[in-house]
Amino acid sequence: MSDLIYRVNMSNLSFKIEEVPASWMGLGGRGLTSTIVAAEVDPECHPLGPNNKLVFAPGLLSGTSASNSGRNSCGAKSPLTGGIKESNVGGTMAGVMSKLGVKALIIEGLPQDDSTFYHLHVTKNNVEFIKVPELVGKDNYFVLDAMLEKYDKKVAVMSIARPGEMKMLTSNISVKDPGGKLRSHGRGGLGAVMGSKKIKCITVDSENYKEVTIADPEKFKEASKIFTKALQENPISGQGLPAFGTNVLVNILNEAGGLPTHNFREGSWKHAENICGETMAENIKARGGKTTHGCHAGCVIQCSQVYNDKEGKYLTSGFEYETIWALGANLGIEDLDLIAKMDALMDDLGLDSIETSVTLGLAVDAGILAYGDGQRAYDLIANELANGTPLGRIIGGGTHILGRLYGLVRVPTAKGQAMPAYEPRAVKGQGVTYITTPMGADHTAGYAVATNILNSGGHVDPLKKEGQVELSRNLQIASAAVDSTGMCIFVAFAALDDAACLPALIDMINARFGISITGDDVVNLGKNILKIEHEFNLKAGLTSADDRMPEFMKYEVLPPHNTTWDFTNEEIDEFWNF
């Protein structure tokens, strides 16, 4: 059974099933979504108009027994950045699509009659278009429950909530995880693209599928064992991440002076201890809940967790450092339980918790709320944003738009996308990633924090310029390749420090498809993906002037190290010399 392309046209509610072109054969995940978007989407199109396409593609190893291979990529032209976007997520969708033999789902066009929303149901060789007026105005958990009931739980589900229907730039696409909670294609306003196509939810049949075919099962098993062992024996993926989750980073970034505080005014926060991973783990121990939890079946790292309130009642899961930082240090909320409540609220509303929370941090400068006023922040999301009031629309437009509307200068974005939880002036390699990646400020695109702060893959001084461009480039190339395999980016810690890890990953790809790619091929794949994406952005009208740090970071010194962003344009533009 070979994989096929499922192509949906919303303009006339039709679908086609196509053979995979030879040139797409060796691609998956980000490599495939970016290739399809670059080949088929006019870079100058309006991201919310009829000529944008929404593309979903599981990774090359998704659906197999390989550890941590369940990531699904979503690509389109981003309404937030105006450039190409790929955002990947765990959950059950990647495995289910792979097993059904769907190499990519391409959604094009817009319905002529835009009076209602549709539910797409994908089964073997078929796509159903179902009008769902009863789901309009409902949020993710309502939609998820309705779909699980309708199909007796035998489906993977993706959906948008009210902000996605309203085409807000902070809206994401939410995906069911194995525990019935939500994960998200978080960044770049992809929920708005789905909303523009009038798609409320997509379900994929998880009952009538075959297992994915493996060309050389013996070799696959062997490589898979080595790979899993590398993940389990690595101190970060084997012990650190499961014990404290990603939130262990609060204290280390705080100590290093790289924890953006009060809208990127300082590099450390005096209340960090209240929201840190150690405190979170203590609370979980005392209240019940789970420190380890996977976002998809087959994750052996389990960085996720289940977090309860003082009464032991469920508050949230998948409680990530980025969200906790943005509401904590950056917006000044000291109460971890309230942050958890807001995290769950943003899940239900399908909001990018980074973009939304950084926007709230900036909203303090706009006079909309005060630092630490968690109740007001909660109300702004639950009432203004969810209901699309004028103020809600402004916040739902994201950090860049809010900054422009209120005449603010200190706006922490790159290519219009809000910066995540690492201060560029104190973690300079990460700053290079923020401004050079085709994705807009994205921490996963080339995680230089690993080498700047965590001593993974060596050490490059975070406060100096030397070596940062090269470091970021190498990491971005590697990440683009890893994002194509369906692997979670946290396999990178083992890949950086354990010589057995990457060859085992390549062996699995070879055994799955009966091919013989080498490490060099993988590096070239990563390079090609970056170049395709960069080219798309240039055609879309972005220039090297978009690969720049917000000006305030060049003249404002950041305590405690009192550093500025001091790269020249030439030094940054060197990034694309490969």
């Binding site: 970060i236 650190g240 002076g257 001593n455 946290f490």
Partner: protein, 76 residues
């Protein structure tokens, strides 16, 4: 004698402390304190910072320094 603020993180805190002001003989290195606390018997050292800068175990501490010790941790 010199005063050093020692901060421990992640698993290093278990059965020890979060932060303590401690006195040591002059000339002591970060590595000596790691040895004294026995933290690396539990998990290998990930990151060592003195006054918020990455340093090596051979670093000679001065009066008033803050030493922070982390096992290998990661996230993103």
């Amino acid at each position: 004698m010199i005063n050093i603020t020692v901060k421990l993180f992640a698993q290093y805190r278990e059965n020890r402390f979060k932060v303590e002001s401690r006195t040591y003989a002059e000339g002591i290195t970060a590595g000596d304190i790691i040895e004294e606390l026995g933290v690396t018997k539990v998990l290998p050292l990930g990151v060592l910072m003195v006054n918020s800068r990455h340093e090596k175990e051979e670093y000679h501490l001065k009066d008033g320094d803050t030493l922070a010790l982390f096992p290998k941790v990661g996230g993103g």
